[in-house]
């Protein structure tokens, strides 16, 4: 702790009076997810998919913007500082890219929407007759652009909703809730997800290395040239991880009687076939009669197969998430938004899909808008991250103790270190706070982790539950 106090600027750098007060809000405390109170990851996904379903039911720009706003507000209020929580920005950008691409297509390939307000006219490329129906260039109308924008915004909103779930729910913990038989697939997904940030870091490192070689580090060519080394690095890392997992007991299986194994295969395969056939029956007009029962039976068989398959796995689960009242409320709010929006499609179809022709400002239908606001519920009922930072504007408890703890959390090395580390300047020989005998190269017995070694033995007796 002494270190944290010392670096607050008060002792170490007296001549910078401006800097000191500026630092504390900037270096906002780390908000880490607390396991005990964390919301079930599934609840966040139900909520987010509810919002996404609602988004897929409308092209009204105002409603879509509200959905994005609702998702964004909840993320801002309830996300943690975990690495996955930072993905939200990426999804927002991805949404913008989607809108951009949709607009570009509308400009280049034209739009089926008849319009009268011409924005610009591109030279039309004459195409052979077999490409009839495809148009390159030509008139670009405001109506067509508006329609494309609404369409793109719908997709972007879907992405933002998925991004919100991604930022709020720990993906690894969601996969822990999968049935045992799917566990291995789940691990593969988790590993793949943790790989993405590694890849990004690799690309950055190698681009920096290109700069060291005196080559340009910007541009597409630079990015392409680091591709191969990045892939090599990824491959090496995956091999190392596979070795580590193997050495830690991944893939140990229990012996299962042959009969059970065969039943499992039969149930799973039969179930999947049933699901396929049932779905076909439901979708095809002819088989309306057998579709539903077949689908149900297939699902049941597949689930039974999965359950039985779980017997092969010897795994146990460490502190699985509990689905509590808050989880019910959060998921219900998402489901409610979806249900209300679907219902709104029956009583106010015009407001949900404002026509692109003629041009006009979309109006905000009152009841669907109110139902979108139901999605804000998680911002109030979901458990907050362990420490609220400046971003949420949350309540700050007064007192030095909190700020200390917060500073320690935000610090890359919050663990109390041997007192030597805390010394703001390096003392004269013999004047150090730590006896020289404890330094590296000292007698072995001294470093066993006596009570004066806070890194090892500090919190031991008190914090054992």
């Amino acid at each position: 702790m002494s270190r944290t106090v010392g670096t607050g600027g008060a002792q170490a750098a007296p001549p910078s009076p401006v800097r000191t007060p500026l630092r504390s809000p900037v270096r906002s405390p780390m908000r880490s997810p607390l396991r005990g109170t964390a919301l079930h990851a599934g609840a966040w996904w139900v909520w987010a998919l509810g919002l996404a379903t609602a988004a897929s039911r409308t092209t009204n720009v105002l409603l879509l913007a509200m959905l994005v706003g609702v998702a964004g507000y909840v993320v801002a209020a309830r996300r943690t500082d975990a690495p996955w929580a930072r993905s939200y920005g990426v999804f927002l950008k991805l949404g913008l890219v989607v809108i951009g691409i949709r607009l570009a297509f509308a400009v280049v390939l034209g739009s089926p929407i008849p319009g009268t307000h011409t924005v610009l006219t591109l030279p039309e490329v004459p195409l052979p007759h077999w490409a009839q129906g495809v148009r390159l260039g030509g008139r670009v109308t405001a109506e067509g652009l508006l329609f494309a924008f609404c369409d793109g915004l719908k997709l972007a909103t879907l992405l933002v909703c998925v991004g919100a779930a991604n930022a709020l729910a720990n993906p690894a913990r969601l996969l822990k809730s999968l049935p045992g038989a799917l566990y291995e697939a789940g691990v593969a997904v988790v590993v793949a997800m943790t790989f993405a940030p590694h890849l990004v870091a690799d690309v950055q490192r190698l681009r920096a290395a290109r700069r060291l070689r005196g080559r340009p580090d910007r541009g597409l060519k630079a990015l392409l040239q680091v591709g191969l080394p990045v892939l090599e690095g990824a491959l090496e890392r995956s091999v190392a991880l596979a070795a580590a997992m193997d050495a830690r007991g991944y893939g140990r299986t229990a012996r299962v009687p042959r009969a059970v194994r065969h039943t499992t295969s039969a149930l799973t395969l039969g179930g999947l076939l049933g699901v396929c056939a049932g779905t076909y029956g439901l979708l095809a007009d002819a088989g309306g009669g057998y579709g539903m029962p077949l689908l149900g039976a297939g699902l049941a068989a597949a689930l039974a197969g999965l359950r039985l398959g779980g017997r092969r796995s010897v795994r146990t689960r460490y502190r699985p998430d509990r689905w509590g009242v808050r989880a019910w409320l959060v998921s219900a709010s998402g489901a409610a938004v979806a249900a209300l929006m679907i219902w709104a499609g029956t009583y106010a179809p015009g407001a949900l899909h404002p026509p692109a022709v003629p041009l006009g400002a979309p109006e905000l239908p009152v009841w669907p808008a109110v139902s979108v606001l139901v999605g804000l519920l998680p911002a109030f009922v979901a458990p907050a991250a362990s420490r609220e930072g400046a971003m949420t504007g949350g309540h700050r408890r007064a007192g030095g103790q909190r700020s200390l703890a917060a500073a320690a959390e935000g610090d890359p090395r919050p663990l109390p270190r041997p007192p030597l580390e805390g010394a703001p300047a390096f003392p004269e020989p013999g004047a150090g706070p730590r006896p020289p005998g404890r330094a590296q190269g000292s007698a072995p017995a001294r470093a066993v982790g006596g009570p004066e070694h806070p890194g090892v033995a500090g919190p031991t007796p008190k914090e054992a539950p």
Binding site: P15, P33, D81, R205, L206, A242, R315, Y318, E421, P429
Partner: protein, 567 residues
């Protein structure tokens, strides 16, 4: 506990076996240290214990390895998981999950330990390793020492009888390494865990070992014995052992304390002599301790800006004043001032995350300063194009392999000449000097760590930059490779190159640097001649300095030369 019976391992594409004639036993509850030069098969030997060699890596294992009675030939690594815990050099490559608590539980989940037991063991392990305050933290946000402790904890929860560690402290700063070693020591003492450990940094670990296994060379049979007797013959040894051999002490001291107790006569002999300090070219006033901070620095930088345009390159290879760099919300550097003259070698030290790498990267323009000025030979790094900057400064990154992109050494050199607009053959000539005996057709991947570092250095040197920066150059190097590196860098400094190296290796700094700059939390906390800075700080002082304090001797070669001249 671990029995090797006539073990040899050969890989299909290798001309000779990676390991031969290993026939030894590691008794229960011992901390056994595995030492030897690079490339003698230390990692292979460690791998045979967990069964990863040959089940995972391929190759052929002759003989038999048994751990707690289980034969690795018939048990796959996953079936050994409850008796052997393996931790590698890079903890990040070991992590499967993303938070501390989940990582600790992962191994037990795989083994099917009942939930109640898992919960209890996780809590116990959190306390044992001092990880309780970090339990909910994402692994990526931990420091190196914390990550290594989590990695050890994650294999401890399954209560293995044997712990196998491959260079657990190589990447750590001295304090973090102590953290990890204290944990190991505690495991051996309190839990009776058998620990088999390979490490290059012998000065950190040799005093903790009960038994040392020395692999003297490729294909040679191992030498086993108590640490003192093995160190007496070992080609790799820490400075304190080197000093003991020089002074002819017997039995050899392994700890600074033992050596100090015997050092009185040596101190007397050395008292009238003065250590040969490598002369700093440009015999100006001794390196001033610069500390201009706060408002004064800001004022200076503001006033100095227009003047800086006309300022010539002068003697300073790099000039940094009032530098501040921010990464997102974190202040990586604050009010840093540093000036490096031609021919001077400066060591940047400080714990992981203190801002050493950031400072080096700012000098090559990878980070834009948020305040203050950086001049490298008159150029502003972040405003200068990479090609132009190459003539002023070169950086060998922490992972030298990042710099290398070609398939062969020859192609690499050609590319380097091309990048630097140097005469064709410049880089190849440098490689020949730094790395005699490496063929043109060798793939850079097949070189050892030390060779790869030398190749990367040659690539950087092709442009003849007056300032050379090295980030953690001794990571993964054995003593021989380190000695070569010291020679090379001394030669470069004599030619007038300014060198700045960021390192945790106090011995390297003592041997090489004219000046040591210590960074903490992005600020310069000490800056002065090596002898003064290093001797006054217990964490950063080399072993020889500790033994001979208060005499200002830093390295064994210094003493060897002085004694040689005196006699």
């Amino acid at each position: 506990m671990i029995r090797f019976e006539h073990v040899s391992v050969s890989y299909d594409d290798a001309p000779r076996p990676a390991l031969t004639g290993v026939d030894l036993t590691v008794p229960e509850g011992e901390l056994c240290l595995l030492v030897g030069p690079s490339g003698v098969g230390k990692s292979t030997l460690l791998g045979t214990v967990s069964g990863l060699v040959p089940h995972f890596t391929g190759g052929t294992l002759h003989g038999r390895v048994t751990v707690a009675g289980r034969d690795t030939r018939t048990h796959k690594p996953r079936e050994m998981a409850d008796v052997v815990g393996t931790v590698g050099q890079d903890p990040l490559a070991h992590f499967v999950t993303d938070t501390v608590e989940d990582e600790l539980a992962y191994g037990m989940e795989s083994l099917g330990v009942p939930p109640a037991t898992m919960r209890r063991r996780v809590e116990e392990t959190l306390d044992l390793l001092g990880l309780a305050p970090l339990r909910d933290r994402p692994l990526a946000t931990l420091s190196g020492g914390q990550q290594q402790r989590v990695a050890i904890g994650s294999v401890l929860t399954t209560h293995p009888k044997v712990l196998v560690l491959d260079e657990p402290t190589s990447a750590l700063d001295p304090a973090a390494a102590e953290e990890v070693l204290a944990v190991l020591q505690r495991l051996v003492h309190d839990l009776g865990t058998t620990v088999l450990l390979a490490e290059h940094r012998l000065e950190r670990v040799v005093q903790y070992a009960d038994q040392v296994i020395l692999l003297p060379g490729p294909g040679a049979a191992p030498v086993v014995g108590d640490p003192a007797s093995v160190m007496a013959v070992s080609p790799v040894h820490p400075p304190v052992v080197d000093l003991g051999r020089l002074a002819g002490w017997s039995p050899l001291p392994l700890t600074v304390r033992d050596a100090r107790r015997r050092a009185a006569p040596l101190r007397e002999r050395l008292a009238p002599l003065t250590p040969a300090v490598p002369p700093v070219p440009d015999a100006g006033p001794p390196a001033p301790v610069r500390r201009v901070r706060g408002a004064a620095a800001r004022l200076l930088s503001r006033v100095g800006r227009p003047a800086a345009v006309t300022e010539p390159g002068a003697a300073a290879a790099a000039e940094v004043t009032g530098l501040a760099v921010r990464h997102g919300r974190v202040d990586a550097l604050r009010e840093v001032g540093l000036s490096v003259r031609a021919g001077e070698t400066v060591a940047l030290m400080g714990r992981n995350g203190a801002g050493k790498s950031t400072l080096l990267r700012t000098l090559v323009g990878m980070h834009e300063p948020s305040r203050g000025t950086v001049r490298v030979g008159g150029a502003v790094p972040h405003r200068t194009g990479p090609r132009e900057l190459l003539r002023h400064v070169g950086l060998v990154p922490q992972e030298p392999r990042d710099l290398l992109c070609a398939d062969t050494v020859a192609a690499e050199c050609a590319a380097a000449d091309d990048d630097a607009d140097a005469e064709p053959g410049t880089c190849r000539a440098l490689v020949a000097g730094l790395l005699p005996g490496v063929g043109d057709a060798t793939h850079p991947r097949d070189l050892s760590e030390g060779q790869r570092l030398a190749l990367a250095l040659a690539v950087v040197l092709a442009a003849r930059p007056p300032l050379i920066l090295l980030d953690e150059p001794t990571r993964g190097l054995d003593y021989a490779a380190k000695a070569r590196l010291v020679q090379i860098l001394r030669g470069l400094a004599d030619e007038g190159h300014a060198i700045v190296l960021a390192t945790h290796d106090v011995e390297l700094a003592a041997e090489l640097a004219h000046r040591v700059v210590i960074l903490a939390e992005g600020e310069v906390v000490a800056d002065g001649p090596t002898a003064e800075v290093v001797v006054s700080s217990p964490a950063f002082s080399p072993q020889v300095a500790k033994v001979l304090a208060p005499l200002p001797w830093l390295t064994v070669p210094q003493i060897r030369t002085a004694l040689g001249e005196a006699s």
